[in-house]
């Protein structure tokens, strides 16, 4: 990316840029590894291929959303419509399967991209806060999905589609490999392109980015589109695994996605964060969930543990000087 040297030099004036190596992004992986070995020691049946396979499968479920949300949150916005977009894409990919697998998947991904574009334009060009915009589109996209599908579950028997969703390479599900490739791609965009650097700059100090001549709106809209697209990929992947979904699929998944991103060390006020950290948090949650099930902890306690983990992460991440922005 030698073509990007110049914008990089410009952007280096921002203080907030090189936060990629923030300790929290690595800390979460340390916790992941520690939890892994803890459960290897105390949970019977944790360390066998079938169980590792199911953990990796669970990582793929929320991993797409966490990777999707990270750039948006780094740029200082939020997207709570991802659960609805995921559900819409899952439904579309199954309902359009009679037109061929290529048409179905590209229509589903296109719809996700379009939803992201709509969110981005409403945030940047219309000027409504991203929380309100995506709260509205979360409700509306769910409505559109119901309107198109009707209140029924849809299913497909397409052998290729189901094979993509259910096959493994060794003990690693194909969906997890797709997630890994996409995560590397997005991490590369965030770390090594001008778009990524501007995203950090916008989240760090939007006014300064505007003053420095960064065309803020197009980067924010691009991040919203990436988010919609990746949420749609997650939806298609889930549809390929399950073969059957309802239009209500994906409701409240946005909360899990945001939880993972925050646990991974990305701050909601923008300017810091990493894909690696978000993925680490997804892995931690998946291992924690799996291990608690193996230890026969009642599933009721899982949300309690995760809630406490989230608040604990916030407390540990608290900045001592935060009088002005501490609350937000």
């Amino acid at each position: 990316m030698s073509a990007d040297v110049k914008p990089a030099a410009d952007a280096s004036r921002f203080r907030f840029l090189p936060h990629m190596d923030s300790a929290s992004g690595h800390l979460i992986w340390a916790i992941t590894v520690a939890l892994f070995f803890l459960f290897v020691a105390i949970a019977p049946g944790f360390l066998n291929f079938l169980n590792i396979n199911s953990i990796l499968s669970e990582i793929a479920l929320f991993g797409f959303l966490a990777v999707a949300l990270t750039p948006v949150i780094v740029s200082g916005n939020i997207d709570i419509s991802v659960g609805s977009v995921l559900g819409m894409a899952a439904c579309l990919s199954i309902v359009l399967m009679p037109y061929g697998i290529g048409v179905a998947i590209s229509a589903a991904l296109g719809a996700g991209l379009l939803a992201g574009f709509m969110n981005g334009v409403l945030v940047e060009k219309v000027g409504i806060d991203s929380f309100i915009v995506t709260l509205a589109t979360m409700i509306g996209i769910r409505g559109v999905t119901f309107y198109y599908i009707g209140d029924r579950s849809v299913m497909t028997l397409d052998p290729v589609f189901l094979a993509i969703g259910n096959s493994n390479v060794g003990f690693v599900p194909v969906r997890t490999i797709v997630l890994a490739i996409i995560a590397v791609l997005v991490a590369w965009v965030m770390h090594s392109t001008s778009h990524g650097r501007y995203t950090f700059a916008i989240g760090g100090n939007r006014a300064a980015a505007v003053d420095a001549g960064v065309r803020v709106s197009r980067h924010v809209i691009a991040n919203m589109m990436i988010c919609g697209l990746l949420a749609a990929v997650g939806g298609v992947a889930m549809a390929a695994q399950l073969g059957s979904v309802t239009p209500a699929f994906g409701a409240q998944y946005e909360l899990w996605g945001i939880t993972a991103v925050v646990l991974g060390g990305t701050r909601l006020r923008g300017g810091t964060g990493s894909i690696l950290g978000s993925l680490g948090a997804v892995a931690t949650l998946a291992i924690l969930h799996n291990g608690m099930v193996l230890l026969q902890v009642q599933s009721f306690y899982v949300p309690i543990v995760i809630g406490f983990a989230l608040i604990l992460a916030l407390v540990l991440d608290r900045q001592p000087t935060g009088i002005v922005k501490g609350g937000e």
Binding site: I78, L122, E124, K125, V126, G127, I128, D129, F131, I132, V133, L135, A136, T137, M138, I139, G140, I141, R142, G143, V144, F146, Y147, D151, P247, A251, Q252, L255, I258, T259, V262, L268, R269, Q298, F300, Y301, V302, P303, I304, V305, I306, G307, F308, L310, I311, L314, V315, R318, G322, I323, V324, G326, G327, E328
Partner: protein, 297 residues
């Protein structure tokens, strides 16, 4: 819009239907009063949906064990305690309210599951207890939930507009640094707004329990976003400092009538979601556009 709709279907504005819509809005309306305080102080509360679940199941469970009065007291206490916990995290620990209340949401949902063991409790003889008055009673033909909503709305509108505390809430939301320089203890104000939000949510839980006489463990799930949608439609800002109780209630009532009108016209129930999106965006767009005096940013 309401008038246009009623030209085709005069039933929409019949007294019975209006009271029906208001009664359906009452639970989220009572919650919206508290949320407005939190938003006025520049914070957000996502935990109220789970708190509503917890309060409703506690109310129904304890009604059988302790009797109605004791159950109501315990339920209100739970709301206040939860509000104190959230208020402590956001006000005194200075955590980001969106994430802290997201965590509380998860915890409270888990507690509701643990308390019930995942089984939906119900009240044996709904007609044999005076407790039914909160959800099913009428005062001069007006449903009691509506009376509670309007009564609490008036009281808290006075608190917000006419008391020192209310002005301090708006000051903290409008500019926290400035409010600190004015010798306002912003931490205490924020703490108090969350206590109000928790307490009012437990009132809503009592009303909901009395109306339904049973409680699924996730009965309140999704309420937080429905309430926020109405509050934003009413024009209360996410940034803090501006808004009002009356506006929030009007926003929720508009959404209530929208749902009702679409059902009266025979549209499927999910048509309301698409219309809700358009109305919320249109209303907020109109507001931001008139504030900056241009249609686009």
């Amino acid at each position: 819009m309401l008038v246009i709709a009623s030209l085709w279907q005069p039933n929409i504005l019949s007294l019975n239907n209006v009271l029906l819509v208001l009664r359906q809005t009452a639970v989220s309306g009572i919650m919206a009063i508290g949320v407005t305080f939190v938003l006025m102080a520049g914070r957000i509360d996502l935990s109220i949906g789970s708190l509503l679940s917890l309060c409703t199941v506690t109310m129904v469970l304890l009604h059988g064990m302790l009797g109605a009065t004791q159950a109501i007291v315990v339920t209100l206490c739970i709301g206040v305690i939860s509000g104190c916990a959230t208020g402590f995290l956001v006000g005194y620990m200075r955590l980001n309210s969106l994430i802290a209340t997201l965590g509380m949401m998860s915890i409270l949902q888990g507690v509701a599951l643990v308390v019930t063991g995942g089984v939906a409790p119900y009240i044996m003889s709904p007609d044999g207890t005076w407790f039914k008055v909160f959800g099913r009673g009428y005062v001069f033909a007006i449903p009691v939930p509506v009376v509670i909503m309007i009564g609490l709305g008036l009281v808290f509108a006075l608190v917000l507009n006419k008391t020192v505390f209310g002005r301090r809430v708006a000051a903290v939301g409008g500019g926290e640094v400035a409010s600190r320089f004015s010798a306002i203890d912003s931490r205490r104000i924020i703490f108090a707004t969350f206590v109000i939000s928790g307490a009012l949510t437990s009132v809503a839980g009592v009303v909901l329990a009395s109306r339904a006489m049973m409680a699924k463990t996730n009965v309140g799930s999704g309420y937080e976003l429905a309430v926020l949608a109405g509050v934003f439609l009413g024009g209360t800002s996410l940034m803090g400092g501006s808004g009002g109780i009356g506006r929030s209630l009007v926003g929720l009532v508009i959404l209530g009538f929208l749902t009702n009108a679409l059902i009266v016209f025979g549209a499927p129930y999910y048509a309301q979601w698409i219309t809700q999106m358009m109305i919320i965006i249109a209303a907020v767009w109109f507001e931001v556009a008139s504030r900056r005096r241009s249609v686009f940013a």
